[in-house]
Assembly symmetry: C2
Homo-oligomer: 355 residues x 2
């Protein structure tokens, strides 16, 4: 028997509620297999910061590096100054653990309410770069607070960093039925970074003649996302454009409450981290109202990353069935039916399907 050593960061707000459901489903998915799950909880997030002033210590980081994977709920609270936990914890983890692929599937489950009148079939995945771009923290201010202040932010793009994420995206596209990769950037204005991205995609494309490659400016991509999302299969893009597009993608597929993500180090040099796209939602926290589906779908991504493809597919299928059941449960008011069950009830229902 094998042990899956999992670090768990429930975090703040609804993070505390959705993570147990993810773990519940993880156990159910692996029940009867050779694999046992050993979880270690890490106290990170707003509460810890308020108590100790720490976001992520070097000791936390070294410890986290020893695990097979990390499951994160959500961190953040309005009481913490903007940027402290984002840069000191979330982004620090992505960077220190070299999670250069931020994988964000977008799937419109049948029957799930979407703001689009005619969504069509939506099933694409965004491969967002996770360790460069405007997220590199490479900016500053001069004469801050004076009428002569200058504030800069530098988008850093390296051939090394772009090529590895583009290669990952091509492999993804080659493995999916549609074999279609779209680069999203803003090459007509950001000619330097855009040039590097475009040249890299064009070059790697030679190795993947079976993949159809196209390009969209980021502004146009936000249009397609609402007028024709079915055109997308695999999108590869930089850190900031990926952040923006995946939130919009979440919105058209029923809300970021359903959107899963993996912060992946494909080579396994460091553990990968799986988290729902949504935040800590303090407004609904503590009331059992949060939908754990995004966390459970993130567990499916984790299983797949760890080599348990069959189990990953079973979890994903169970989610789809549960979503269909929920949608059917109230034909006249699909808009609210997905929220009609409690956090734990949804976790239970999905776990039971795996039983």
């Amino acid at each position: 028997t094998q042990t899956l050593n999992l670090a768990v960061i429930p975090g703040d707000g609804i993070g505390q509620e959705v993570v147990p459901e993810g773990l519940k489903v993880l156990s159910a998915a692996l029940a009867g297999s050779e694999v046992t799950v050993a979880t270690t909880s890490f106290d990170l997030g707003a509460a810890r910061w308020h108590r100790t002033g720490e976001t992520l210590t070097d000791a936390d980081l070294e410890s986290l590096k020893t695990f097979d994977a990390i499951l994160l709920g959500a961190v953040g609270d309005p009481s913490v100054p903007s940027g402290v936990l984002e840069r000191g914890l979330l982004l620090r983890l992505r960077f220190e653990l070299d999670q250069y692929v931020n994988l964000r599937p977008s799937l419109l489950y049948p029957g799930v309410p979407t703001p689009l009148a005619a969504p069509g079939a939506i099933d694409f995945v965004v491969v967002r770069e996770g360790t460069e771009g405007l997220y590199a923290g490479n900016g500053g201010t001069v004469r801050e607070g004076t009428p002569h202040e200058i504030a800069t932010e530098v988008s850093v793009n390296t051939a090394f960093g772009v090529e590895r994420v583009v290669r990952y995206a091509f492999a993804k596209a080659a493995a999916r039925p549609a074999h279609h990769l779209t680069l999203v950037h803003k090459t007509n204005v950001l000619v330097n970074a855009g040039g590097l991205w475009k040249r890299t995609v064009d070059r790697i494309a030679q190795e993947y003649p079976q993949v159809r490659v196209d390009y969209s400016h980021v502004d146009a991509a936000t249009i397609y996302m609402v007028t024709d999302p079915g055109r997308f299969d695999v999108i590869v893009t930089d850190n900031l454009f990926g952040d923006i597009l995946t939130d919009e993608a979440g919105a058209i597929t029923g809300g970021i409450g359903l959107a899963a993500s993996g912060n992946i180090n494909p080579e396994g040099a460091y553990p990968s981290m799986f988290e729902p796209v949504h935040g800590s939602a303090p407004d609904i926290a503590g009331r059992g109202l949060a939908d754990p589906t995004a966390t459970i779908a993130s567990v499916a991504l984790m299983l797949d990353h760890l080599g348990y493809a069959r189990e990953a597919r079973r979890v994903q299928d169970a989610i789809s069935q549960d979503m269909a059941e929920r949608a059917a449960g109230d034909g006249t008011d699909a808009g609210t039916s997905v929220l009609r069950r409690s956090t734990a009830a949804i976790g239970d229902a999905i776990a039971q399907r795996l039983g």
Copy 2:
């Protein structure tokens, strides 16, 4: 009698078709007034570049500076390398003419098809900064084309540049019934630029106690744009976020084919430039299929900027009436009815309403 000296840049593709309709409506709007319009056409865009290799000469620029305003159709063609006309012509004009306010209203006309199932009333305006940010052209490459390439793009934000556009946005918000201003940025990651924007908005807000101010991260804003666009009144944001949000805003209000914009130098030190948000659309060019409404709405923005508020309102009302008529014209198939008339027929119909 006064003369309005107007520089006209029809440009490429459908730009050539929509500009005459804009001028037709401009004449109709000013007929019987003290104002006569004198137009001077400038040959700028892809055709000129192919012929002469020039995008915008210093002589062109000096000449353009002598006009009261500029009306631009669209520039660009797939045959021109990406970035050449954008940076050499469009952005150069915005920068050289210090058009620091890029004003982009979003209005869902009654009956116009939108991809949203339940759009509600949409009526907001984006005040996009036009002369700074990632558009400053302040990036570069090192070791280009090698495995050690580094490509950077620098977002440049100055207290001077941010304050003036924020002031404009507050004045706009104060003049609109809802008195509501939303700053859109990414303060939790782009802490330097975001800090400057946030501090500036907070400071100017003191002078506008009647304006309700809130803040949205850009990723969340793309969600609200499809789930609750009615929440927005005036949005103020930087150059790149404004580019992205206004395309999405165009999509939810019936397509960027209907979206108007003004590149404004509020003090009038240089002429302001008015242009539809759409591009040159070479695929439909030359066939009289382009909808000139965005250009005509840009003419309304121009009239307003030049101090002809009454005429601006009349043009805007005529557009609304025309849109309603077009929508009613085919109750069963509103999705295509807005395209059912020719470019010139739409211009005629709107001009006639002003007659």
